[in-house]
Symmetry: C2
């Protein structure tokens, strides 16, 4: 599931930066496989818990597997949503540099996904906690992309639809980063039996962004 | 969990339509309780599966409880995100009718939540399937709000930040509707042992919305 989820994210970003609708359609199609795998992991874990009544770490392994497969299934949904947006913005005028930020952000999200899946395979607690601490970086880039896209929208209303879709794409990638963080927390639980002590504030600070920084003073022109 | 999740959704929408920051902060605070309850439901279900090795319907009840509590926890996250956006748009000029669509949409989402939780309590399969079939209505309203908000943004760039936050709020409510649908599908699974046969296409059609309908012909002036 991890490998497939990574591929969906990678392909959806490539589809987005190149406006490659064929690749986008392939992502939408392949996401169904991830959904089926998640259901199968869950059923299998429940069967094993019922059959063997595991305790301690063996039980935590099955619970963590269920939770992580649910995170990966949602990562696939987010990649699929970005792929759908490629179909919406196809054929539109495209200010190329606006996609650069989204691409950079998704490179980091993909690195986070890869690191956390490696940490799961090698049961490496400190690697998992590293992933968790790096999520702030994605959130910061998202907040900066949010501002940048709003500025483009204010500069020229013809950018509004395109930039709105890109905003949702960026938000989806930020959420992929959150799922990498969830997985890191489940690795902590798997290894130690506890959730990480200090609850991380999840999500981006753009939810709190007031617009004063970006408000054109007299109706047009951005800042 | 269902009652608390409903309250968070209701309060976050009231906070949004009245720009009531105190209520918004209370939602953000209360969401933590929902998260704790979800973890506790999950732990309890796993303990019961290991202790009693249930089969058939008793096993499905525990699996469904885990899945539904996970949906409710995410409904709380979405309400919390909307509450955060109230803090972002506080004190801003507010075209009142733009919030009406969001309010209408959330009334339907809340009705869906209420109906699906009732269907769970009474194990009423046909009521659950009704909820599932009504999700299209929320998606249609969301798509119409998406268009309306983009039009406001094109009419006046001073609306852009506010409308962008409202767009994300509307999207969050649309996702709350999706979670009601997920819960309906889990009730189907609980009662019949099968997932509903015909997989529903989830999500909104606005992901596919190209902008041609809303593109100003010469740079300004709406649609």
């Amino acid at each position: 599931m991890g490998g497939l989820a990574e591929h969906l994210v990678m392909d959806s970003v490539t589809a987005l930066t190149r406006i490659d609708t064929q690749r986008a359609r392939a992502v939408i199609e392949a996401d169904q496989r991830l959904d089926a795998m998640q259901r199968s992991v869950e059923n299998h874990a429940v069967d094993l818990i019922a059959a063997h009544r595991p305790q301690g770490k063996p039980l935590r392994e099955l619970v963590a597997a269920m939770r992580i497969s649910s995170d990966l299934e949602r990562v696939g949904d987010l990649a699929k949503n970005n792929a759908k947006r490629v179909l919406a913005i196809e054929g539109r005028a495209y200010p190329p540099r606006v996609a650069l930020g989204v691409e950079h952000m998704s490179d980091i999200a993909l690195e986070q996904m890869k690191s956390v899946l490696d940490a799961f395979t090698s049961q490496d607690l400190s690697a998992a906690l590293d992933v968790r601490s790096r999520d702030d970086e994605i959130d910061a880039i998202y907040t900066s992309i949010f501002r940048e896209l709003l500025t483009y929208m204010m500069e020229d209303p013809r950018n509004i639809t395109f930039c709105t879709h890109l905003l949702f794409c960026a938000k989806n990638i930020e959420r992929i980063g959150d799922h990498a963080t969830n997985i890191a927390e489940n690795i902590h639980y798997l290894i130690t039996g506890e959730q990480p002590v200090e609850a991380r504030a999840k999500g981006d600070s753009s939810s709190y962004l007031s617009a004063d920084w970006a408000e054109p003073e007299n109706g047009r022109g951005g800042h």
